[in-house]
Symmetry: C2
Subunit: 278 residues, 2 copies
């Protein structure tokens, strides 16, 4: 069928074309440019991958908020956040972003195949940040995103307003939803806290819409962080809660047996009567 040729097939096809065209000046020029040369010399059909980190282009926060909200309803929170960001970049610059299938991030929904661990909106947004920012700076931006997530109220006023004004691309529920602070980056804790406060079951339509707005808000925040970073204006604002710094006096990784968790609220799982079972 026409139009169904793969990139690889196309490149193999053009190898022959380049070979055939090499008698002419245009063909020689393309070959000399580099990749064409290796195609001819080694018969390798694959072009060079785009060097990492990929080049970011300033995004519109509100455009991404709407994309991520719709994408949540298409493929869950992790897909939603990643696709909201990646589709905006693919539309703005095309390749290489358009070559990454956002479906790769289906798995992160419900905290990872429904296991309730890392919130998928954070997971998907973090992957996109890690695609365009070097390792050390990506870690700082992502840690800021995680910290913000634990302290902000979800859904935001903006997302509640969007729903009410039908400004989202999908409106499965158009009323404002109760706002809660999750205190955690974990899906299980974030959702359970909201459900307990709102009295709404986890399986309800409203809960799903709450997570769609949270996904939208998280992707929008990632845009803010990346735009600021690439404008040379990023400053970390998140400070780990006092309970964390207190616990880490004895339980830090340099001193004892605790890995990570150095920023997330300890007492949400570890009560005062915690018996240090392991």
């Amino acid at each position: 069928m026409k139009g169904q040729i793969t990139r690889k097939e196309f490149l193999i096809g053009t190898t022959s074309v380049v070979a055939a065209a090499s008698l002419g000046a245009v063909g020689v020029s393309a070959i000399e440019a580099g990749t064409g040369q290796s195609l001819l010399a080694g018969g390798i059909a694959n072009a060079a991958p785009t060097p990492w980190p990929w080049k970011y282009k300033t995004l519109d926060r509100e455009d991404v908020r709407k994309r991520a909200h719709k994408a949540y309803h298409d493929g869950g929170c992790c897909y939603g956040a990643f696709h909201g960001l990646n589709s905006a970049l693919a539309d703005a610059v095309g390749e290489p972003f358009s070559l990454v299938p956002s479906q790769m991030f289906y798995y992160g929904g419900g905290g990872g195949a429904g296991w309730g661990t890392l919130c998928g909106a954070l997971n998907g947004a973090a992957a996109l940040i890690s695609l365009v920012v070097d390792r050390a700076n990506a870690s700082a931006l992502i840690s800021e995103l995680f910290g913000w997530y634990t302290e902000v109220e979800f859904p935001s006023d903006i997302s509640n307003d969007y729903a009410q004004q039908h400004l989202f691309l999908v409106s499965k529920y158009d009323k404002p939803l109760m706002k809660t602070v999750s205190g955690s980056t974990l899906c299980h804790a974030s959702v359970s806290r909201w459900c307990t406060a709102s009295g709404i079951k986890a399986g309800a339509l409203e809960r799903s819409e709450r997570c769609a707005r949270l996904t939208a808000d998280t992707a929008a925040k990632a845009v803010d962080l990346m735009n600021a970073f690439f404008a040379g204006q990023f400053k970390a604002a998140f400070v780990p809660p006092k309970s964390v710094t207190g616990c880490m006096g004895c339980h830090g990784s340099a001193i004892a047996n605790v890995q990570s968790g150095v920023k997330m609220e300890c007492t949400q799982c570890h009560q005062d009567n915690w018996e240090h079972l392991y």
Copy 2:
């Protein structure tokens, strides 16, 4: 500089070549195949992305185990698991796998930018599974991987033996390491339990090597699951622990306020004296 041309530049270049070559039979053939046609008609430089899910090729478990172990030492657990798998596929089939920079998964190390949530080895392996398996089946495979992870002893005998026999590509520590069952998919819990049992600090070389072997074991398990799935032989074996099914009688998402966590051991965080604070 020669050899530094990007894919996009190359394709723009070959558009001209195809146009110039279209007088010849080979050129016309390539254009009629589809993608070439749109390049000429619309002047669009981007080729069609490879349809998702991407085509898997049977991998060698032990080859991937070694790749993932080395990659852990290059870029952490999440990068390690993803790169162990993705580099094997890129070497076997080239594109589209070679177009995805494994550095995108740097962020998942230490449970996500060091926050101690989802183990990065699971996160990276899950992303690769989600790249080659449809959504519903990927969720089943990943859930099986997560379940296996919570119940198996890390590091495996095989990885301990590899280290002792210097069969790994990188040997920062060559002695067998204590084995523990994590009981959790969370980095924080997995590492803390091992450190407590072994008496080794989280910041120690041995702990890092333990996570490298764990990453190797997790990537190898992902190979087993995918190979079995594509051979039509996958059967889910993980059964959620009794404490989970017991708790979910009252706390399931259809009944009450708990999202997810339906498979992970509840009592690791929730003690008998848990006061239901949220």
